[in-house]
Point group: C2
């Protein structure tokens, strides 16, 4: 089929070369080629196992089973082309592997194995344990999950109830017959039943279980990690004392068998406790293992990397959503320009549609640059730590706190915007956005876990403010040296000035054009973040001085903390966006690409001022006129970006196989695709349909519905 004329026209108008931006997103032209090579491998696989065509018509059970088939076929492929393992026994989680996972474009029930289970073994187990378990992980003999949350307990780890009790060899208790001692794992209450871990329900045979460690003397040492075998490695039957299964259907992500597990006196060997940082000897004596400062910090860095990947995923999810919505808005026409017009308008020409979609397009790129920056920073810290001699001073508490604050704030902000944004893309497609064949329902319902997992978006701002209040304190006491290497360094001067009661600054734009400058926008975000932070600090201080308990003062400030966290994020995002463009300039991209990406950065900056303009007006930092300029500049940027938006989503280089969208297809032949998908529904498999014979017929033929007029009203 030929490409839709509107889309072809859009593409011909672009002022830059999309493939250069594709290379930037992939890292290099070489990486783009490699990704495409691996995608082709999946798409052209001679079996039809990877087809996603029937996904939406299958019962959940069948979809789950089919996605297991995909996993097995994927491993088979990897084995034939030398991908997915290292000869030294370690599981390899490299770019090729993740490219393949992305290429499959469907959720695999095994994913917690490589996302959490294997990394947990690598970071928390000692060398001997790694040598034993990692080759089994590599060979997919051992498939694992990470079992932390319980049905009555979420992210408050201290509240977990599962117990691991030490039993000494020779004891006449259960587990006492094992050499070297054992752990007995128990779920002592209904609320302690493990609940939610992905891969746990039907797929894994091992779980990394988080449980309270009770040592040989009956002392509770708090939560630790234990490797618990849940199923036989021969026939996948449940191990004695383990009850587990799937937790049932969810709003999305239903390929995955999120599971529950109840443990009743489950015995595991003593050495199945993860023993890198602490251990228990044969006599049940607990001790912390002395490790270098660097080593313990590395595992903390790993935790923050997870949040950074989530920021990258926010970019990817949003790029997926805007690609579908912007292409369809170019193809879809509705509403006549005037009464005698023959042709309807492209939806993409309506200002409110642009105002809805273009800032999301900008955010989708913005999050990419920030994700990349934070991951690079973390990698650098990790390498610094690994190259240090033992005992050397490595990284300050302030630096660790700062990157914790950045990743927490960014995770919360980016996943909120992405979740709302993908859903808004869906709504922007009108009725057809409801269809599973549009690709939106699956994208959004799978994405929705992100605002909740790895620190609920409502809880993270507290953590951000905890760190930033330390900055305020350090400014007060003049100890700002450590902060100067930090993301939050931009806060130092304005916080200092505000604490000194100096005249509050004001926005420097003195014409509308002056507002359309990155520098002016960054200053505004800097001022806002500092002002809101100082205000929260003062509010808590005042409350406490007026006699409130600290906890109540803290609780009373929670709502404002969310504003601080958001303000911190937007500054960092815009700053990283601009510096990311500058860094790529002359490497993967040239002046044309720099120009259009800078337009996106400006739109991002302007849009979020427009949206939260009260924050800038309240203390007089901006005047009413400047607020009006910001709005007007936003409108100008929408116009300026208009010819480039289709090319900007093309640059994401999502193949149709990965997009899985009748609305977002590259060729724009939307309506035939929608109709084709409709016809596949099993409801259409027979005439006059599955509900007729047994039910509808009773009305039409048996006359069950005929009114006789004889029954008296109840």
């Amino acid at each position: 089929m030929t490409t839709n004329a509107d889309l072809a026209n859009e593409r011909s108008r672009a002022t830059f070369t999309p493939s250069k931006i594709t290379n930037l997103l992939d890292g290099s032209a070489k990486s783009t080629n490699r990704r495409r090579q691996l995608e082709a491998l999946i798409e052209n696989d001679p079996t039809d196992i990877f087809s996603n065509e029937d996904n939406h018509y299958l019962h959940r059970t069948d979809r789950h089973v089919r996605s297991l088939a995909k996993h097995v076929r994927l491993i088979e492929l990897c084995r034939s082309i030398g991908i997915g393992s290292k000869t030294n026994g370690e599981v390899i989680l490299d770019e090729d592997w993740f490219n393949l996972i992305n290429a499959v474009a469907d959720d695999l029930p095994t994913s917690l194995h490589w996302v959490m289970f294997v990394p947990n073994i690598i970071s928390l187990c000692d060398e001997e344990q790694k040598k034993k378990w990692l080759p089994m992980c590599r060979d997919w003999k051992m498939i694992g999950c990470y079992a932390q949350t319980e049905v009555g307990h979420g992210s408050n780890v201290r509240g977990l109830e599962t117990t691991a009790t030490f039993v000494q060899e020779g004891s006449n208790q259960k587990g006492g017959d094992a050499k070297g001692g054992s752990w007995v794992i128990n779920s002592p209450t209904l609320t302690s039943i493990k609940f939610w871990p992905g891969t746990l329900g039907r797929t894994c045979n091992h779980a990394m279980v988080i449980a309270k460690l009770i040592d040989g003397d009956g002392i509770d040492h708090g939560v630790h990690n234990f490797l618990v075998q849940t199923r036989s490695m021969e026939d996948h039957s449940l191990m004695p004392g383990v009850t587990c299964g799937d937790i049932g259907p969810k709003i999305g992500y239903n390929n995955m068998d999120n599971g529950f597990a109840k443990f009743e006196n489950v015995v595991i060997p003593r050495r199945n406790m993860a023993m890198r940082f602490s251990n228990v000897d044969k006599n049940g004596k607990y001790e912390k293992v002395s490790v270098s400062d660097a080593a313990s910090k590395i595992s903390y860095i790993t935790m923050m990397q997870v949040r950074s990947y989530i920021v990258m995923e926010a970019s990817k999810g949003l790029r997926h959503g805007v690609t579908m919505a912007i292409r369809y808005s170019a193809v879809r026409r509705q509403g006549f320009k005037s009464n005698d017009a023959k042709e309807e308008n492209q939806i993409l020409d309506y200002k409110q549609q642009q105002h809805r979609l273009f800032p999301l397009l900008a955010a989708s790129y913005c999050f990419f640059f920030t994700g990349k920056k934070v991951l690079t920073d973390l990698k650098a810290i990790e390498e610094r730590l690994m190259n240090l001699a033992d005992g050397e001073v490595t990284i300050t508490k302030t630096e660790v706190g700062d990157i914790h604050a950045s990743t927490s704030a960014l995770k919360s902000f980016c996943t909120t915007i992405a979740a709302d944004g993908i859903e808004d893309c869906r709504k922007a497609c009108g009725g057809h956005g409801f269809l599973q064949s549009s690709g939106f329902p699956e994208l959004i319902t799978s994405y929705l876990q992100n605002p909740t997992v790895e620190g609920d978006n409502q809880m993270l701002p507290m953590q951000v403010v905890k760190v930033l209040l330390k900055l305020v304190k350090d400014v007060q006491s003049g100890k700002t040296e450590d902060w100067k290497k930090c993301d939050a360094k931009y806060l130092l001067d304005p916080v200092q000035a505000m604490l000194n009661g100096e005249e509050s600054g004001s926005c420097s734009a003195d014409t509308k054009e002056g507002m359309m400058k990155v520098k002016v926008l960054l200053e505004a975000y800097q001022h806002r973040a500092a002002r809101l932070l100082v205000k929260v600090a003062q509010q808590i201080q005042t409350d406490v001085m007026e006699g409130k308990a600290f906890e109540d003062a803290w609780n009373g400030a929670l709502i404002q903390m969310a504003r601080v966290s958001r303000a911190h994020s937007t500054y960092l995002l815009l700053d990283n966006f601009v510096s990311g463009i500058a860094e790529a300039n002359g490497k993967t991209i040239g002046p044309d690409e720099v120009a259009v990406l800078t337009d996106l950065a400006l739109l991002f900056g302007l849009y979020w001022i427009e949206k939260e303009v009260g924050d800038f007006l309240e203390d007089g930092y901006m005047s009413a006129e400047q607020a009006e300029w910001a709005r007007s500049c936003t409108l100008d940027m929408l116009n300026k970006l208009r010819p480039n938006v289709v090319a900007l989503v093309d640059a994401n280089d999502f193949s149709d196989f990965r997009l899985k969208s009748a609305l977002g297809r590259y060729d724009g032949n939307v309506y035939p695709a929608i109709l084709e998908a409709s016809k596949k529904d099993p409801l259409n498999a027979s005439e006059p349909g599955p509900g007729y014979e047994k039910h509808l017929r009773r009305l039409f033929v048996d006359g069950v519905g005929i009114y006789s007029g004889t029954a008296s009203r109840l």
Copy 2:
């Protein structure tokens, strides 16, 4: 099981009598009793057809079939107790019927029959047509749908492509052999295929088809309604020339067979055109029927009633959501107060949780009062019109425009808030909000159609502003008399003052306490709405004067129009909330209930100022100090409402059968219910599970995943 202690405690703290508010919501104590009586009928039905226990475990096809079974059983029940029909042949759509539909608590695939098809016959067909078709509708021999949208055409009715061409008796064309002439219905293009109509796919046997009327002389008279038989009334087989089926799975509402239909030379009798307002005679001559002004306006009023019902549904959906979220937040505990604390905090005590949920609780009540008010107004207008003699001056264009603006603005605002709000309630439940058994996924995904249907929420603001710009013009020319009876009358004085360039007012609160007054809040909303309206009017005027085409000026103002529409809504909502409470005072409710509802009204007013504070700061109407007061008052209202929130959601009187929620159950025994539901998933029906034998076993036993180290890397 006994009630959860936290919930019992919450209930004991309430300062008012929930059942009085229940009666207010139902209309009277008598209505409450009747509703409960009908709910009991469904819940206690001796067949188990109405059970919703297995809904989430069924394949879509099976759920659809089961919901048809529910419909047939419901009709059977109605027949036995004299509900659902009138002896004069008319279909009855009364309170009893809607109570029964609600009691079923599951979507029925037949619903477009009574929601659109029958009302269409009643309002658009002539007396003879009604006499013929309505008894068949009553007896469920004829089941119909409303077929307007086409796969390439949404709400722009003028863009529809389906044709109905007149063929005279005796013509040698198809249809020429019918007595009195025929219509031949065609889908001339792929984009003209009817798409989306509910009930069309598998259930109905007739469709009210919207098609362009081509008369006997080949003249196109624009779109009209035609009754097209789609399936045989004997065996439900498709009629000649009709292809139709289900459009496939959607994000939600999957019991319903939204359908597609393609017409190829489908012949229907001439008298199957809806002929109340226009007709075509045997010779193919088209003419408008002269009807009274009143009669034509009544059908317009009916259209607006649909939007008002949507506002009521927004209230109901949101009440459903907050009931589940608030009860669960009372039961759920997480986070310790201090390091040595034993018991975790109730989630409901965290300020950000309150700030998330209580304003939604307030909105859920607020929308109820507005829905009730608008429906009462429309009813009054309808009755006024029906009692008028022909030709009498009835209702002014201004009045019709005004209520059009109100219902459009309210539909857009309320459904946006409800959709976002229900989803936010879901997110506020953390992980468990993802579970289908929580009740949230089905509630939100079914609700999501509301922001799109009956005027997309992004499009409606244009219609609102179109009307309100007329008000500005009338103020300019001094013709304000007609407006004084209108909802928008509150705009007259401030618009006048602004147009005269008079000093802009400012918020009259001079203490924090002063901010917590309905009058002060209403004045602020009044000022904002007037200011934004005048600004849009001036912007368009300026643009046009500067040489922009009107359409471009209009397009450029679309983003600001959305703000005007929202501002208009919030004023009306707060105003109706307060007057609704006053009206009920001393009837269904007493001083205790008035007090707590007034707290909700204040919270609603304060929260939306806090949220959009820039609108009030920008022109200096509010000072920074006043903005701070508004925030502080919001916090105070959260504290004040805290002891009453569980009782306020109890007052909704949703039975557990209707809530369908493990998290929202009245007794608060959440965790056993979640586990119970999990166990039912078909994935747990067998050990070691459906994916083992064929797939996972290949890894574990066949060794497909073993790394050999021989393959060279691709």
